[in-house]
Amino acid sequence: MTQRAPTRKERRDQARAERVAREQEAARRAQFRRRLGILGGVVGLAIVAVVVAIALSSSGGSHKSSTTGQTTSLFAGIPEKGITLGKPNAPVTLEEYGDLQCPFCREYTLNALPTLVRDYVRTGKVKMVFHNLSFIGPDSVTAGRVAQAAGMQNKLWPFIDRFYANQGQENTGYVTRDFLDKVASQVPGLDKQKLFSDADSAASQTGLAAANASANTRGVKSTPRFFVSVNGKPAQELQPSSLTPGGFESQLNALLAKAT
C-alpha cells in the first residue's frame, strides 16, 4: 500500500504549524531571558542591601565593655552601703533584681547604668538597690556570695559592674576562684582576703536568701526586673521600654516630679 502524497493544503498547514512552534519557542526563550534579567536585577539590589546591613551591623555594636578606670570614676564619691548605692535621702529608690550570669542584666549594666548613675544617683535624685538573685545555676551562687561579700566592704556596685564586664557563658563553670580574683583585682580598695573569707561565711548566704525571699514576695521570676518607690512609699514595678538610659528616663523623671 503506497502512502498518499500530502496535498498542497496539508503541506502549507504543516509548514505553518512548524513556523508557529518555532516562533512560540523563540518567544518562550525571550521571555525566560527577560525573567532572568529581572532576577539578576533583584539579586543585585539584594546584594547592595545586605552589604549596607552588614556595614551597619559591624559598626553599630551596642555593647561597650567598660574599663576598670571607667568603673572607678563612675562610682567615685557616691555613698554606698551594703546593697544600696546613692544618698540615703534620695527621693526615688530604684531596685533591681539581677543574676550575675544573666546576659540581659549585663546589657542593662553596661548600656544604661552608667548614664543613670551619672544623671540620677550622683545628683542625689535616685538611690539604687541590687537584689542579687542566683537562680541560673551554681556559678550564680558562687558569684553572688562574693558580690555579697563585696557589699560588706561597701563595694558591691563596682564589683558587679566589673563582673558583668567580664561575664562568661552561662553555667560553664567559669566562675572560678581565679576568675573572681581577677574581677576583684579590678575594684580599687577591695580587700581580697576579707572578700573571700566573707564569701564563705553564713552572712553572704543570708544576703542571697534575703534577695530570693524578696523576689518571691514580689513574684519576680526573671531578670532583670525593676521596682521603684517614691519617698519610702510602697514600691511598684517599673517596666523599661528598653535596657538603655532612654528606657528608664521618662519614668524616673515622672516619679521625681511626683516626689517634689
Partner: protein, 155 residues
C-alpha cells in the same frame, strides 16, 4: 510546579519563619531566657551579642517584618508581588548567612533558632526565585498551538 503551589509553599514556609522570629522578639522584649535545646548558653550569647541588633533594631524584629512581607507577597498575584517576595527573601538569606558567619567566627556560639531561621530563609529564597522565573501568567495560561496573535499573523 505551578505558581499556585509555589505561593502555598511560600506562605507555609514564611509562617514557620514568622513563628521563629516572633518567639525571638518576645524573648528580647520580655528579657527571658531563650529556650535552647542544645544547651550551653549559645542562644543567650548570640541574642546578647553586638550582631543581635542592626542600627539599634533587634534582628529578630527585622526578621519578623521580613517574614511578614514574604507571607504577604504569597497572598498576592502579579509581578510586583513576585519581585517583592524574591527581593525580601534574598536580602534575608544574605543577612542570615552573614549572621551564621558571625556566630561561628565572631561570637563563637551557635543559636539553633538562628540556624533554623537561616534554613527557612534559604528555602524561601529558592521558592521565591522559582516563582519569579515562572512564565508570565498570561503566557502560561495560553493553550499550546492556539491561534492567538502569532497564528493570526502567520495565517
Amino acid at each position: 510546579m505551578t505558581e499556585r503551589r509555589l505561593r502555598i509553599a511560600i506562605a507555609v514556609a514564611s509562617l514557620l519563619g514568622l513563628g521563629i522570629a516572633a518567639y525571638l522578639t518576645y524573648v528580647h522584649y520580655a528579657h527571658t531566657t531563650v529556650l535552647c535545646v542544645a544547651g550551653g548558653g549559645g542562644c543567650e550569647k548570640v541574642q546578647n551579642s553586638d550582631q543581635s541588633k542592626l542600627a539599634g533594631i533587634p534582628v529578630a524584629v527585622l526578621g519578623l517584618v521580613g517574614y511578614a512581607g514574604i507571607f504577604g507577597s504569597a497572598l498576592v498575584r502579579g509581578e510586583a508581588a513576585r519581585i517583592g517576595g524574591a527581593l525580601l527573601a534574598l536580602i534575608g538569606i544574605g543577612f542570615s548567612l552573614y549572621l551564621t558567619y558571625a556566630e561561628i567566627f565572631l561570637i563563637h556560639a551557635i543559636c539553633q533558632w538562628c540556624v533554623a531561621s537561616c534554613v527557612v530563609m534559604a528555602i524561601l529564597a529558592a521558592l521565591t526565585c522559582a516563582r519569579l522565573l515562572l512564565p508570565d501568567e498570561g503566557a502560561a495560561r495560553a493553550p499550546s498551538g492556539s491561534r492567538g496573535e502569532l497564528g493570526a499573523r502567520v495565517g
